[in-house]
């Protein structure tokens, strides 16, 4: 059962362009939505995350847009650079009031290539 659907599977963007990756989730109990970046041979690293009480979060060139009614969220990379070439994963989990949380459920990933 795939609870987080990610698209596209691969993406090629010119340097300086905007990279957009989309995710959709099914479980309405999810309330934490991070994006992870993974380089070959390395583990995923947290890039940016959002809670459903806001519709957008921006950190530098990275922005998450969140649409609770549509159960969708997306990652926008502005002014994309060759160093951004990596695999990007969206994820989701349910947080608990006591501070704990379920383990993250990941999408299948998007292989992003930024052409110089």
């Amino acid at each position: 059962q795939q609870q987080v659907k990610q698209s596209p599977q691969s993406l090629i963007v010119q340097k300086g362009g905007i990279s957009i990756i989309n995710c959709a989730y099914e479980n309405t109990a999810f309330d934490y939505f991070p994006w992870y970046q993974q380089f070959p041979g390395k583990g995923p690293a947290l890039l940016i995350a959002i809670r459903p009480d806001v519709s957008e979060k921006k950190e530098g060139r990275f922005t998450i847009s969140f649409n609770k009614s549509a159960k969708q969220f997306s990652l926008h990379i502005m002014d994309s650079q060759p160093g951004d070439s990596a695999t990007y994963f969206c994820a989701a989990s349910q947080l608990y009031s006591g501070g704990g949380a379920d383990g993250l459920t990941f999408g299948k990933g998007t292989h992003l290539i930024i052409q110089p």
Binding site: Y32, G43, F89, G99, G109
Partner: protein, 116 residues
């Protein structure tokens, strides 16, 4: 801050053999996760520990996989006997509590297992 340490980095075994992976989380992190990442896919949660207790092992193939976290620190994941479909990268991650805004998951670089 030292990251999540995993060993070995690579392992090649024949099917039906056994194998064990080791993980040392970031100091002070109460929650530890093991994920399986098959080539071209997102990480899939196998087991989540809170200190030395199991929080979620619903996706762990218990007929062949086992994991333990002694004294709430280091953890080992074992496969016995291995199957061809177990070929994957096994990622260990840790967080202060569960995954959340103030407690992101930190991943190790993984152990790449090849079963022949």
């Amino acid at each position: 801050e030292a990251g999540v340490a995993q060993s070995p980095r690579y392992k090649i075994i024949e099917k039906r053999q056994s194998v064990a992976f080791w993980c040392n989380p970031i100091s002070g992190h109460a929650t530890l996760y093991w994920y399986q990442q098959i080539l071209g896919q997102g990480p899939k949660l196998l087991i989540q520990f809170q200190n030395n207790g199991v929080v979620d092992d619903s996706q762990l193939p218990k007929d062949r996989f086992s994991a333990e976290r002694l004294k709430g620190v280091d953890s080992t994941l074992k496969i016995q006997p291995a199957k061809l479909e177990d070929s994957a990268v096994y990622l260990c991650a840790s967080s202060l509590v569960g995954a959340g805004n103030n407690s992101p998951l930190h991943f190790g670089n993984g152990t790449r297992l090849t079963v022949t």
